[in-house]
Symmetry: C2
């Protein structure tokens, strides 16, 4: 029997160890490196790197070969959290139960630590230490860098955050809300799955299927996040709830209502599962993660 | 006769055109893209991209083949200016004679535009549109991404900015000041020259020479910048002078004195020129740029 909790705990440990190792080698870099590690070590669910590893495994690829890219994805996610939490953005003082980076350090250090994590992601993704030196390995790495940069940038995650801020206090329709979330959360989650697929040497049809899985999962994840912001337990989540409503944020529950949002999340997970129907049991972790998205309570 | 002014004007135009073309294709991205272009279009001397193009040309490489990388370097430089100007950092309201990005838009947009420019640099550097698809082209591109990321990140430019902020109000010795500036300004200038060298198919000895040229030039550039902050004409420079002294920043003039700083800049340029002595007349632009660094008045 496949046990997701054991699986997640084991992956989360491997990811945390990678970061500890990496930062122990560069500890001489002082305050910025310290703040980078502080933000990365705060943990969280590690959804993106776990998805990257699980996608690589679904194709029979080795976890070892995808770990550096998984951690680069987590760096990009972490940088986005650091910057989103800044006073000029969402002005959050607490994240994962700990003071946010600009509270623990200061704003300037938080801005720089975010910048440095984003940059380090691309440094790691292009590091010959982690990349097979043959034509296939080198070409794949460039493709991964391009995929991740496109997902994280002004047409993806960054634009999503901008749209999110611009839409505060206005009322979005369901299509605009979907577009916002596809960019803000979906794009990097999709890119995480695709990165794992590429490192697992997926064929074109497999990449297409996993990309679709990632797209549905990313959206489901956001709908579930919106629901947890209303119905979640702040103790378990390590962050405040009810903040979306306070800020007049557009969320799925605010547009669709609670019950219909739950139904929507269930349908999205169904579609994610359908997309990878043709995969064998090596894709069980991906299936379990999809179900977990709507069952989680933090 | 080689005329640097004509050379710089022609390169600056090519670079500006590239940005205009690129952003005209993505204008649908709204506010973030608008702010990115605003910051990039503000212009400036384009030192880094020009150095990249000039280094490629010094080896007989085509300007066309290095342009995308030159512009990626300018994106990284521009992102660093946007973030450095923020209230939490240097709190500058004017840059190149125009309101800084957070003044023209707002802080959140400026943070996001900086993030997006940094990300776009890596998207462009890994874009198959610009990269020769053979083993050599692909491998070179990965090397360039790694070089630039290392120079821009927590061991390079970002750390330099952190050290700069941490040292305000304290008195640095000459070695610490040199380390600060090598990171804050030198690293990306050196990487710009190395990127051009790689795209110009330099051999190992040529890369070493150009890297050395870049390192001396980068430091000379910073010393000259420090001097201009004291003796420059705010009209010509499009920014305030005397700001370093107001903030108790550590600068070469504050540590070495004016006359000795000028002498130091001259010596650094001499060393930069010596490093590329063996190059033929195709390196004349690099030589002229080195001399220009200490002769410029803006």
């Amino acid at each position: 029997m496949f046990d997701l909790e054991t699986y997640l705990a084991s992956k989360q440990k491997i990811i945390t160890n990678w970061f500890d190792d990496y930062f122990s080698q560069i500890s001489s870099s002082g305050r910025v490196a310290e703040a980078m590690l502080y933000a990365v070590a705060a943990g969280g669910k590690r959804v993106r790197p776990v998805l990257c590893l699980a996608a690589a495994e679904a194709l029979g690829g080795s976890q070892h070969g995808a770990l550096y890219a998984a951690c680069a994805l987590e760096m990009i996610h972490t940088y986005s959290l650091i910057h989103d939490d800044l006073p000029a953005m969402d002005n959050d003082r607490l994240r994962r139960g700990k003071p946010t980076t600009h509270i623990r350090y200061d704003e300037a250090t938080a801005i720089l630590a975010g910048d440095a994590l984003l940059t380090l992601a691309f440094q790691v993704l292009s590091d010959p230490l982690y990349i097979a030196g043959d034509m296939d390995g080198v070409r794949k790495s460039l493709g991964i860098i391009n995929t991740i940069a496109a997902a994280a940038g002004h047409e993806g995650m960054v634009q999503g955050q901008m749209l999110d801020m611009l839409s505060e206090g206005t009322v979005l329709g369901i299509e605009d809300l979907r577009n916002l979330h596809q960019k803000k959360t979906g794009a990097l989650i999709e890119a995480s799955v695709v990165t794992g697929a590429l490192l697992g040497d997926a064929e074109a049809a497999e990449i297409k299927a996993l990309k679709q899985y990632g797209a549905y999962l990313g959206l489901a994840f956001q709908v579930a996040d919106d629901l947890l912001n209303i119905t979640g337990d702040p103790q378990k989540m390590g962050k405040s709830v009810g903040t979306d409503a306070e800020r007049n944020k557009n969320t799925y529950p605010s547009v669709l209502g609670l019950a219909e949002s739950r139904q929507f999340a269930v349908e999205l997970v169904e579609k994610a599962l359908q997309a990878i129907e043709a995969f064998d049991k090596k894709a069980h972790p991906l299936r379990a993660i999809a179900r977990y998205v709507i069952e989680r309570n933090r």
